[in-house]
Assembly symmetry: C2
Homo-oligomer: 159 residues x 2
């Protein structure tokens, strides 16, 4: 089953290596991971998306909670949350197709951040499904490069 | 100096732990990191933002290139690139201030993804500076929670 796990850690050298080591030690391949700042400059927030056996993952979650630099671990799986990814796509722009691609970007409410003679970089944020849908449509023109952040998630409402 | 490094890796268990270990082994604290899928389902793209001594970082970059599962390493520092972050902010909404906050979100071209009685989750993508600017303005109302993806970057134009 797919799990989205949020981990608050202290900004110390080696924390990320220890956390990713915990997952790989149990044979989990991390689907996506993002590490960003929080409101407190001493803390970072990791969002990890991982697929795997629920029982083993529960053990990993508990071990995570025991690491000294880990302050909080939350599994969002059964919660009411919002999740988004960010993506850059460098798409090929075949002759005469620029207008068509610009329309597509508008429909998805994406942004064009760079325009070359034969290509274009599009920025798009949204759910994983939305990003995948745009990629499917752009494949018609030819995709040169993709960069995705991996997802961030947050619980709805006040806890 | 701040460096943005993009690394293309094979999706294998343990790659992330090895890469983050390389940085922590040299005493580098990673400012932000994002790992996402690429167009090839067997490959992932890591974007690492790190501050540190240029000479030592150059050594890390070379060692990265030697790892078996690493296919490509690019340092964007002196290149012409676009970079963006994605952020969720759960902001406090004091009585009578909802309209004011909604206007602010419009100015930044953010999106409101959840509305509670006393709070709101805002989604915003942009440069690091833009995200920081919004956080500064929201602090007036009180920020409850922040989740940031860390940046993704892509070279402009065709190489």
């Amino acid at each position: 089953m797919k799990h989205i796990i949020s981990v608050i850690v202290e900004n110390k050298v080696g924390v990320l290596a220890r956390i990713s080591g915990l997952f790989s030690g149990r044979g989990f391949n991390i689907d996506s991971l993002s590490v960003g700042e929080t409101e407190n400059p001493d803390l970072s927030r990791l969002t990890i998306v991982v697929n795997g056996d629920d029982t083993v993952l529960e053990q990993v979650r508990k071990q995570l909670g025991k690491l000294i630099d880990v302050l909080k671990v939350q599994d969002f799986t059964d919660e009411n949350y919002v999740a988004r990814d960010l993506m850059f796509v460098k798409t090929n722009v075949p002759p005469g197709k620029r207008g068509e691609i610009v329309e597509l970007v508008d429909v998805f409410r994406g942004k064009i951040v760079d325009v070359g003679q034969r290509d274009m970089i599009i920025e798009l944020s949204g759910t994983e499904d939305k990003l995948d849908a745009m990629l499917t449509l752009l494949r018609t023109y030819g995709i040169k490069e993709v960069a995705r952040t991996g997802c961030i998630a947050m619980l709805r409402g006040t806890k």
